[in-house]
């Protein structure tokens, strides 16, 4: 386990920034009330075997007592670095990202299942959408009851999608909570 170096930090923050925008500050400077210390420590990012974890300081201190080979996971995993060095967000960061997201999309109940199976979101499945979405933005997908289902990349802008045919793709799927069942082994 080690902290991220500059290049890695930049990559992680950039990916998070796509979804959270300025709220990234809230994530990084979140006071954490875990641990015996009365002063709230901060949350930090740690790297263990190519996976990046979002952990509170007090937890990190205790995790240093575990040998590297034995340490499997700590805190919340937010993503992993690929062999080629690029950073991908995984579904585990959903709760963190969803609470700080700026671009949101709500799905109709009929197309929820389709998204949970890993398909992209088509125009016909869209319930609501926040405005000012640029193609390429990170978007968090909710159900109509405000349950975060996953996240993805916007394929069209908020205005552009009205010009699409009903089967056009609006949000490209990146991660969804159905993965916990489908890809149990790989997570």
């Amino acid at each position: 386990m080690r902290p991220l170096d500059e290049g890695e930090s930049t990559a992680v923050f950039e990916k998070l920034f796509k979804f959270t925008g300025n709220n990234l500050k809230n994530i990084v400077e979140n006071p954490s009330h875990e641990g015996p210390d009365p002063n709230p420590g901060r949350y930090c990012f740690r790297l263990n075997k190519n996976k990046v974890y979002y952990v509170s300081d007090s937890l990190v201190k205790r995790a240093t007592n575990i040998a590297r080979a034995n340490l499997v996971s700590l805190g919340t995993c937010i993503g992993r670095f690929t062999h080629g060095g690029s950073f991908h967000l995984t579904v585990h960061c959903l709760s963190l990202v969803a609470s700080n997201a700026i671009h949101k999309v709500w799905l109709k109940p009929t197309s929820e299942m389709s998204f949970l199976y890993g398909n992209h979101v088509s125009k016909g499945g869209l319930g609501r959408i926040t405005e000012n979405i640029v193609p390429g933005d990170g978007v968090v997908v909710f159900s109509m009851s405000d349950v975060p289902l996953g996240f993805g990349i916007a394929a069209k802008s908020t205005q552009g999608y009205s010009k699409l045919d009903p089967n056009g793709i609006v949000v490209l799927h990146q991660a969804d909570i159905g993965e916990y069942l489908r890809m149990e082994d790989e997570l």
Partner: protein, 354 residues
């Protein structure tokens, strides 16, 4: 070995030659020619067999064993006669000066130990490297080490000699008269049966190999001396940063890690600050405000003047992103970063009484 039929038989090569053979008539067809040749060949082979069986034979498990005599016919050369090599520089000089090569003995008399020692090699006679004392001469510089100087002189002499040897070889190669072992080393011959000889190493391959070799150094080849024209490597230095931040941050408000994250965050936010302000939205709000003003003003001013004024921008602007409006950021009005203009309905002409 001649027989009655005057065939020349060379038993060492198992060969029989008919020197006086003539084609009596030009055979009309190919088959007749073939038949004649086979007939003649049979006679020759018969002659070889006769002579073979005349040789003294020894008994072996498989049958009579005969030792063939050495061959009598000389086979022609496979390779060309070696070209005469051009004389080396020393040879030319010696010839010009009339210096003859004198034969030396292997043993020479050593003055210092007063024994006979070999002339070269281990424990040689009159060895110049092992003198205990070197007398100082008038020409000597005081700070110099004479032993080191001798070693350097010898090195220089050896280098010069090597250079001369290479020059001689180059001269010989120009004529094409390289000694065979050098020729073989220069152009590696492929082993028969395997693939063709390996091609010359290309520039890119050499660069790659140099890069791989550079990773053997602790600094990843960053400080290696480069030849003139050699390009710097693609992967400079080691791949990893050696120094990571400490795992647990120290006490206090600003640890190293926090500083790093703050720095990166600020960079990110400032890079994307133009997206914080939604320019199109602000522009549209400004335009709508202007429309409201213009709609309110015609009520106050006289009817004629308003009719004379050309009515422009009275339709509500369509709100589309990336719109056709050629609004470039350089000429934008001074908005405050991140703050929206107070859009007060009906109060727009309060301070602007006309």
């Amino acid at each position: 070995m001649e027989t009655e039929t005057q065939f020349q038989v060379d038993l060492g090569n198992l060969m029989a030659v008919d020197l006086h053979h003539q084609f009596h008539s030009i055979p009309s067809s190919r088959e007749e020619l073939v038949k004649e040749c086979i007939a003649k060949g049979t006679e020759l082979v018969q002659a070889i067999a006769n002579n073979l069986f005349n040789l003294p034979s020894t008994e072996d498990i498989e049958g009579p064993l005969v030792k063939l005599p050495p061959p009598t016919t000389r086979l022609p050369r496979e390779k060309h006669i070696p070209k005469p090599k051009p004389p080396t520089k020393w040879e030319l000089f010696a010839k010009a000066k009339g210096i003859k090569n004198r034969k030396k003995d292997k043993i020479a008399y050593d003055e210092s130990s007063e024994t006979w020692k070999r002339r070269y090699g281990y424990d040689r006679a009159n060895d110049e490297d092992n003198v205990p004392i070197i007398e100082a001469k008038m020409t000597d510089v005081p700070g110099e080490d004479p032993f080191a100087k001798r070693q350097q002189d010898k090195k220089k002499r050896v280098e010069k000699q090597d250079k001369n040897r290479l020059q001689n070889l180059k001269q010989a190669a120009k004529v094409g008269a390289l000694p065979s072992h050098v020729q073989l080393a220069a152009t590696r011959l492929p082993i028969t049966g395997t693939q063709a000889a390996p091609q010359k190493v290309t520039k890119d391959e050499l660069g790659d190999v140099a890069g791989i070799a550079a990773t053997a150094t602790a600094s990843g080849g960053k400080f290696d001396k480069k030849l003139p024209g050699e390009k710097p490597g693609k992967h400079k230095g080691k791949y990893r940063t050696v120094c990571f931040l400490p795992v647990i941050g120290g006490k206090g408000i600003h640890t190293q890690e926090q500083e790093q994250t703050d720095k990166i965050l600020n960079k990110l936010i400032s890079k994307n600050s133009h997206e914080m302000l939604n320019v199109n939205k602000a522009v549209n709000m400004y335009n709508v405000k202007k429309d409201k003003k213009r709609n309110n003003r015609p009520e106050k001013s006289s009817a004629t003047s308003s009719q004379l004024k050309p009515r422009k921008n009275l339709q509500k602007k369509p709100y589309n992103k990336g719109s056709s409006k050629p609004f470039d950021k350089g000429s934008k009005k001074p908005f405050n970063k991140g703050s929206k203009r107070p859009f007060n309905k009906g109060s727009s002409n309060k301070g602007r009484g006309k």
